[in-house]
Amino acid sequence: MNAVLVMIAQRLALGVLTLFVVSVVIFGATELLPGDLASALLGQTATPETLAALRTQLGLNDPAPVRYWAWLTGVMQGDFGTSLATRRPIADMLSARLGNTIFLALYAAAIAVPLSLILGVLAALWRNSLFDRVANAGALSAISFPEFFVAYILIFLLAQSGFFPSMVRISPAMGLGDKLYVTFLPALTLTLVVTAHMMRMTRAAIINLLASPYIEMARLKGVSPLRIVLRHALPNALAPIINVIAINLAYLITGVVVVEVVFVYPGLGQLMVDSVAKRDIAVVQAIALIFASAYVLLNLTADVLSTLTNPRLMRRK
């Protein structure tokens, strides 16, 4: 068990380092983009005088390292600062949207993970059967279409007929049932997009093991096929499956901006896109850190879980 704790500590330390590197890279990349916040805010209406006045007001005339250091010291003290564009505290702007993003990700995961595990196990169990082929073809088609296309098809089938709203209007005051109802279509879209990856990995990992001698042994002693898969194959296949699930969960948090746009869902993705377009660096940095943290923590969780599920890894030394 100690080994696991040491690993977690090491990974967390590395994670902090990763976040630092990410923040430097993002800051540098945003600096490289043409134009700055002042010109983006004023857009077509910019004149040299108003630009100069706005730049002075926003402190954009300081050199980049000075601005980065000011931001970094603020974050070290837990202060994300205020948005340069709206002058609202970034923590306020993020909290509601982060909540929305996590809610949608969990909702989609709650449907997609069990679904793909069950489909994957069944496909492995009845491999090369009609069921296997249909499940594979369906999942692969869903992942092959662009997300917005899947979304539009679902809107056409389920929203225009009046079953579900095409546009998500969500507020913290809503009850869980209402929330689940209004966000059903985006969650279903995301489910269709991520299921194939997890299902195919489950199927492949299990089938891979079914050729092993110990499975042959189990089969010879007369164990039923379902029990072979669930009791003997699945525990040994968990490590790769957990890793794929973690990657898909991270994707559900960080990569769903297209789905957000189609369903008008107020999540982090849209905020990130708006902020990059307006060169609102403080907000971009904050969101980038959240996204990077999601990857770091989910990968860490995946590694810990795969270690815990594998007694051989637990007893090494």
Partner: protein, 520 residues
């Protein structure tokens, strides 16, 4: 109600009425829609889905720049002066205004108007609100309106504004949407406050997502602000906007893709409003840079564009051909009889030869950020110009940073204008020598002379003559190709009623749909 000695002297009102009646005749409304119109009723939750609005939208009135900010502002604020649906000026926070010489303007501030916070609107609040856009440190987009302003001071219930030169159209500038009247403390407004004296009180606002407002029970206009509640939603995706209207989640949407109008009409779930206005799409050429420094080249390009085809394909018919004229049919002195420029490849070749060229090759930089359909319009332009021996090489630019790196940077680009209610406003901003948004860097001695003279010309006929000469100069010697005026196209749920006349000055009834419209 509104008194203006200066205006009366010019009998401007009579002219305005004539001009706007023409504009109203152009409204395209379904027949059933007219029958549905009745007396305004109070009540209902009016939900608007707009194709604008970002999470980075500023609260600061000087930085409002998109339709979302404009409609949200019109819902909670008043200005000194309102442009009525027929194009006339009506008093809002200014009860009346007058000037004896066009230089010193006296605005009488209406009494008994309160902010949502309950505080009375005072002369000091008005001055603080205007000063926010004035002076060295101001970051306002309309800072230049106040360049000629020498002084703003209080005098009892009046605000007196002194200009450095006469300008008979100055009150029109005070109707600009940036100039919201907000509560001031110590001569400054709080630009992050949502407090105003308009028809609705802000309940919640999340930039780029939604704003919810409730009716202001103390609103001073008793015949405006009919909805109990207004919700303004940012729906950037045009398909999502259409879906929201069709499934009854919103009552009004803007920016309808011309390709989908027919399908929406066929469904019978919505009314399409197509309002002709002064808005126009443009291709400015840098008049300082070769080959555009030769007017013959500019004329060759102007005759090498098929304007009617542009209106038909890019606007889906929801617009009108423009004769390179930034002054639109909704303006008072619009020069309707100016010799039109039809697509004429031979004439284009003729002007090319005048310029000493057999053929011409130019780069046209476009992105859909300039206007919806700009890339297609550029391709169409290239196609027709080729028939005149002009090779237009279309350079696609990214939307991101377009206004920074392309517009006014590259010599030949695409852009748009919202159009202005007043000729002087339009010309001073976009065509006067050295004007901040003179995007063709165009200079014309006679034009500049006329522009200054017309401001202080009190004879109506002479004034008209001057503005028509200016339009002619811009059209035939200017450096901006203006192929079309685009209509404001919007769609409403079938139970939304509007007044007989919808403003041609800006989109969504001059942003005032929230206070002028109602549920039938």
């Amino acid at each position: 109600m509104t008194q203006s000695r200066f205006d009366k002297g010019l009998t401007r009102r009579g002219v305005l009425k004539g001009a706007t009646a023409l504009g109203a005749a152009g409204l395209i409304l379904p027949a059933s829609y007219r029958q549905a119109r009745a007396e305004p009723q109070q009540g209902g939750d009016f939900r608007i889905g707009l194709g604008h609005g970002n999470s980075t939208d500023s609260y600061d009135p000087g930085l409002w720049d998109n339709l979302y900010a404009q409609v949200f502002a019109a819902s909670r604020h008043n200005q000194l002066i309102e442009v009525a649906a027929d194009g006339q000026l009506t008093g809002e926070i200014a009860e009346s205004w007058e000037s004896s010489d066009g230089k010193t303007w006296v605005f009488r501030i209406r009494q008994g108007v309160t902010f949502h916070s309950g505080k009375d609107v005072t002369v000091e609040d008005v001055i603080a609100s205007l000063n926010h856009h004035r002076g060295e440190d101001s970051t306002s987009a309309v800072k230049q309106f106040f360049d000629p302003v020498e002084d703003i001071r209080a005098d009892g219930q009046n605000v007196i504004i002194t200009l450095d030169a006469p300008n008979g159209d100055f009150p029109y500038l005070m109707s600009d949407y940036h100039l919201a009247i907000m509560p001031g403390t110590d001569g400054k407004i709080d630009p992050t406050s949502t407090d105003g004296c308009g028809p609705y009180i802000v309940e919640s606002y999340e930039p780029g997502v939604q704003a919810t407002l409730n009716r202001n029970p103390n609103y001073w206009k008793s015949d405006r602000g009919h909805f109990d509640r207004v919700e303004i939603l940012a729906i950037l995706d045009s398909a999502a906007r259409l879906n929201a209207l069709m499934t009854g989640q919103v009552d009004l949407i803007d920016q309808i893709d011309p390709a989908t109008i027919g399908m929406l009409e066929a469904r019978g779930v919505a009314n399409i409003l197509s309002i002709p206005g002064n808005a126009h799409y443009v291709f400015p050429m840098d008049s300082r840079a070769a080959p555009f420094d030769d007017n013959n080249v500019r004329l060759a390009l102007k005759y090498a564009i098929d304007r009617q085809q542009m209106v038909d394909t890019i606007l889906g018919g929801h617009g009108a051909v423009s004769n390179d004229n930034p002054i639109g049919p909704a303006n008072r002195y619009f020069y309707a009889d100016m010799e039109p420029k039809t697509f004429d490849p031979d004439r284009a070749r003729h002007y090319l030869r005048q310029a000493g060229m057999e053929s011409l090759s130019v780069d046209l930089h476009v992105a859909d950020a300039a206007f919806s359909g700009a890339v297609d319009a550029g391709a169409l332009f290239a196609e027709t110009a080729a028939q005149a021996g002009i090779n237009i090489n279309l350079v696609r630019e990214p939307n991101d940073g377009y206004w920074d790196n392309v517009w006014m940077q590259k010599p030949f680009v695409a852009s748009y204008w919202g159009g202005r209610a007043v000729e002087d406003h339009m010309f001073s901003m976009g065509y006067a020598s050295g004007a901040a948004w003179n995007d063709s860097y165009w200079e014309h001695e006679r034009f500049n002379e006329l522009l200054v003279k017309a401001r202080s010309e009190f004879d109506e006929d002479l004034r008209r003559e001057m503005y028509q000469e200016m339009q002619r100069i811009v059209s035939f010697e200017g450096s901006v190709i203006i192929p079309m005026n685009n209509n404001y196209v919007m769609a409403t749920a079938t139970n939304v009623a509007t007044p007989e006349q919808i403003s041609a000055n800006w989109n969504l009834d001059g942003f005032r749909c929230v206070e002028r419209w109602w549920f039938a």
